[in-house]
């Protein structure tokens, strides 16, 4: 597994960065699911997280900031056979790209979104973001942030997402299992991964002290209200699948079953032009 899904490019994250753990977990998950690199597409946003596409040896699209989700939706709708991962950050997904994320969740498009949530804008050298806690001093908030952060789990649950989980980059094994479950889930899945940025906002200790596993706590991920409760916990940090429900995926509903998916259409197939033109006669 060590060398699986490795492009051979040496990762250039800071030593200790949580992104290493996320990368390892995803590689492990893909390997354990027996996926081949050809059948996987990773779409990444812009940020330290986005570098994943340089290292993870699957097909990849390094998109512009905030638009990884709609790009991934397009990929999935064009060819539903592909496993489509999104690597995005708290800035990428919860600030500039928030609307896309929530709409994809609502539609239940079968993409798997991994949010590298380091609670800070890292690549741009450390500004506050939508999950930065109140009071944190950053380059854009030298007097301490005065904004209330989002509760991304609650927001995602509220959006209609059919699979909502939280991972921690420190616990690679656990995160790997979450990624596997997300991939196996039909429809939209999102994992908010606590991914400490050791350079701009090191939350490792804080999280380690408070983290616990939902599996160990007897949480039933089919229970939406229980999931809401877990997402509201302030003192402890639940890890695991908060919520999972099976519903038809958007690609099943939106694509016509009589035709091959858009990416696999035969261009030589004749268009029924006469029929289409009848209405203009």
């Amino acid at each position: 597994m060590a060398r699986a899904f490795d492009t051979g490019v040496r990762p250039q994250w800071c030593p200790g960065c949580g992104n290493y753990g996320v990368l390892a977990a995803v590689r492990g998950a893909l390997a354990e699911l027996g996926l081949r690199r050809e059948e996987v597409v990773a779409v990444a946003g812009i940020g330290c997280h986005g570098r994943v596409t340089e290292y993870l040896d699957v097909n990849a699209f390094h998109a512009i900031h905030g638009r990884a989700v709609p790009v991934a939706e397009g990929v999935k709708l064009a060819n539903p056979k592909l496993t489509v991962l999104v690597h995005t950050g708290d800035g990428d997904a919860y600030a500039i790209g928030l609307s896309h994320l929530l709409h994809a969740a609502r539609r239940n498009v079968g993409i798997k979104v991994i949010v590298h949530n380091n609670m800070v804008y890292a690549l741009t050298t450390g500004q506050a973001g939508p999950t930065t806690p109140r009071g944190l001093r950053t380059r854009s908030t030298p007097y301490g942030s005065v904004e209330e952060p989002f509760n991304p789990l609650l927001l995602l649950l509220a959006s209609g997402a059919t699979f909502v989980a939280r991972g921690f980059s420190d616990d690679v094994q656990h995160l790997k299992e979450l990624v596997k479950r997300a991939i196996l889930h039909k429809g939209f899945a999102v994992i908010d991964v606590l991914q400490p940025c050791v350079t701009f906002y090191d939350t490792r200790g804080w999280i380690r002290e408070r983290a616990y596993k939902l599996e160990d706590a007897g949480h039933d991920p089919r229970d939406f209200r229980a999931a809401l409760e877990r997402s509201l916990e302030a003192e402890r940090v639940p890890l695991g699948v908060l919520y999972e429900v099976e519903k038809p995926a958007f690609e099943e509903l939106a694509l016509s079953p009589e035709h091959p998916p858009p990416a696999l259409r035969d261009l030589k197939a004749r268009l029924p032009l006469d029929k289409l033109l009848a209405r203009f006669e």
Binding site: E38, P70, G74, L82, S256, P262, A263, R265, L267, E281
Partner: protein
């Protein structure tokens, strides 16, 4: 004037069926054997506000655009009489319900008991519009069967409505026929077989389908929404995935993702949506993902006049997005070109892996023309790799043409890596100045080939004369119509706006006086002439009040500036 040419206007408040009546009139005239042009104007309101639909028909040759003068008006309210009666020719007349007539002061009004008649037949009050139209056809001595066929065609799938309206039409026609002496012209009738009455938006949608469209994403916006509506309607027959996104940024990025995965993808929008897509245009270009964006221009700036026309986005289309990259901007001038170029846009996008912008406008998109036959065009796949990739496959292989074979995700042996960061041949991020230059060079080499295509096919010439009239987009139709009144004028239409076919334009214009006419305020085509031909046009006619140029004002302009 014996029925060789005519112009009818239907007017009324939004919600009174002006659009339906006008379309039926247009269809009926096509069935008579006329060449028909139809256009309309409506406010950005669901109810209230004045709305009109104009049908111009011609027995010989093609009806290409509207005319100022009218032969008949169907007035569904007094406002219509007020606003348009002044445009009637000698002998022209207004048809309306008695109640409307009672409140109007215009002369030459044919007042008929239309609402009474509708009531008697038990039809809904709105059917007054069809009653009036039928009466108008009666006065003009039109063919009732053709009119009924048009009604049935318009209400296809709604048989009940069709029959009610047919009954109303028969009654209305009888009423009108009693007064046929009022008309100074008589409709001709000699059907010419199957012909289409096609609007520019449908033509674009059909052209995209002809070009192999398999994925379409859009966010509703006037006047581009009809493309979405049409494609949504035919999605099953045509086998195209249609997604309404949460905004234009999502729509275009879905299309980019779909195209990356191998779908022939397009989006359609109008100015505000196109503005929102500016960043993603560069994303498509940098990742070399084939993409077609249709911009059905409307009058700006900003929200502007959302239901009115303009050709104001030309320079923006050429320069949109930060940084620099090759792109193609095409502008059809009529529905046949719209069909052809929409198909071609997809082919170019896939042949060169560049974004292609198709500039239409409200006037082209929502007007109708008689079309005998659509050209025989179809999809070309371009350099796509499926199945198994050659060893050492690299998505951004540096090639002489600048185009690199495009493997689709799923291709055995290929890691397809698209990157908005500057990248090397494999797609990996780079900042190495030599690699950057090589990649820029690779991308720019496509422009050379595109320029050649533009020079070859980017300019159309019509007629001959001492004066050259240069136009782009839908102004072509207005110019064709104006040309009937002009001698010694050569019409030159620029179809490829970027890369600009400077040599072809120079050749076409030659030493002639150069007149330019556009539907915008700054003279954007004129500015391209300056930039690329280093020549100042001799005169420029601009209109920017949300209305298309009139053939009449264009003819006057040409006459005044023929030198």
């Amino acid at each position: 004037m014996s029925g060789d040419e005519l112009a009818i206007l239907v007017g009324g408040p939004a919600g009174s069926g002006v659009f339906a009546t006008g379309t039926i009139a247009a269809k009926a005239l096509v069935y008579h054997g006329y060449s028909v042009f139809a256009t309309n104007e409506y406010p950005s309101l669901i109810r209230g506000g004045h709305q009109w639909f104009l049908v111009a028909a011609r027995w010989e040759g093609s009806a290409m655009a509207h005319r100022r003068r009218l032969d008949a008006i169907l007035a569904l309210d007094e406002r219509t009489v007020e606003l348009h009666a002044g445009r009637l020719k000698e002998g022209g007349f207004v048809v309306c319900d008695e109640r409307v007539a009672a409140r109007s002061r215009a002369g030459n009004v044919v007042a008929l008991p239309l609402s009474e008649l509708v009531e008697e037949l038990g039809a809904p009050p709105v059917a007054v519009n069809v009653a009036g139209l039928a009466a108008l056809f009666g006065v003009l001595g039109g063919n009732l069967e053709a009119l009924l066929a048009a009604i049935r065609s318009y209400y296809r799938g709604r048989e009940k409505t069709a029959e009610v309206n047919a009954r109303v039409a028969e009654a209305g026609y009888r009423e009108g026929a009693k007064l046929s002496g009022r008309a100074s012209l008589k409709l001709r009738y000699a059907p010419r077989g199957k012909r289409l009455l096609l609007d520019g938006n449908s033509a674009v949608a059909l052209g995209l389908l002809a070009g192999g469209l398999s994925f379409f994403a859009a966010y509703p916006i006037t006047p581009a929404s009809p493309i979405l509506h049409f494609l949504a309607e035919v999605q099953r027959e045509a086998g195209v995935a249609v997604v309404q996104a949460e905004c234009e940024l999502a729509a275009v990025n879905m299309a980019i993702g779909a195209a990356f995965a191998g779908a022939r993808a397009a989006v359609a929008t109008s100015g505000p949506g196109f503005s929102l897509m500016a960043e993603s245009l560069g994303e498509a270009a940098m990742t070399e993902t084939p993409l077609v964006i249709v911009d059905v221009q409307r009058a700006g700036p900003s929200t502007g006049l959302p239901t009115h026309t303009a050709q104001g986005d030309l320079r923006f289309a050429i320069h949109a997005s930060h940084g620099e990259f090759p792109r193609v901007v095409l502008a059809p001038g009529d529905p046949v070109e719209a069909y052809e170029l929409a198909c071609e846009a997809l082919n170019i996008a896939w042949r060169y892996q560049v974004p292609v912008i198709l500039l239409s406008d409200k006037f082209l998109g929502e007007s109708y023309w008689t079309v005998d036959r659509l050209p025989d065009v179809g999809p070309e796949e371009g350099p796509v790799v499926r199945g198994r990739a050659p060893p050492g496959y690299a998505r951004y292989r540096i090639t002489e043409s600048g185009v690199s074979p495009m493997a689709l995700p799923g291709t055995e042996g290929a890691r397809v890596y698209a990157n908005t960061n500057e990248h090397d041949e494999l797609g990996f991020l780079t900042t190495d100045p030599d690699v950057v230059k090589a990649m820029q060079g690779k991308r720019w080499r496509k422009l050379a080939a595109l320029k050649e295509e533009a020079e070859k096919r980017g300019v159309k010439e019509y007629g001959e004369g001492r004066v050259a009239l240069l136009v782009w987009g839908s102004t072509k139709c207005v110019a064709m119509e104006a040309l009937r009144e002009l001698d010694g004028v050569k019409l030159v239409q620029v179809v490829w706006l970027e890369p600009f076919p400077a040599e072809a334009v120079r050749r076409a214009v030659g030493e002639r006086r150069l007149l330019v006419a556009e539907n915008n305020a700054r003279g954007q085509l004129a500015s391209l002439v300056r930039e690329h031909l280093l020549r100042e046009p001799d005169a420029v006619l601009l209109r920017y009040d949300g209305r298309p140029l009139d053939p009449e004002e264009l003819a006057e302009f040409v006459k005044a500036n023929a030198g």
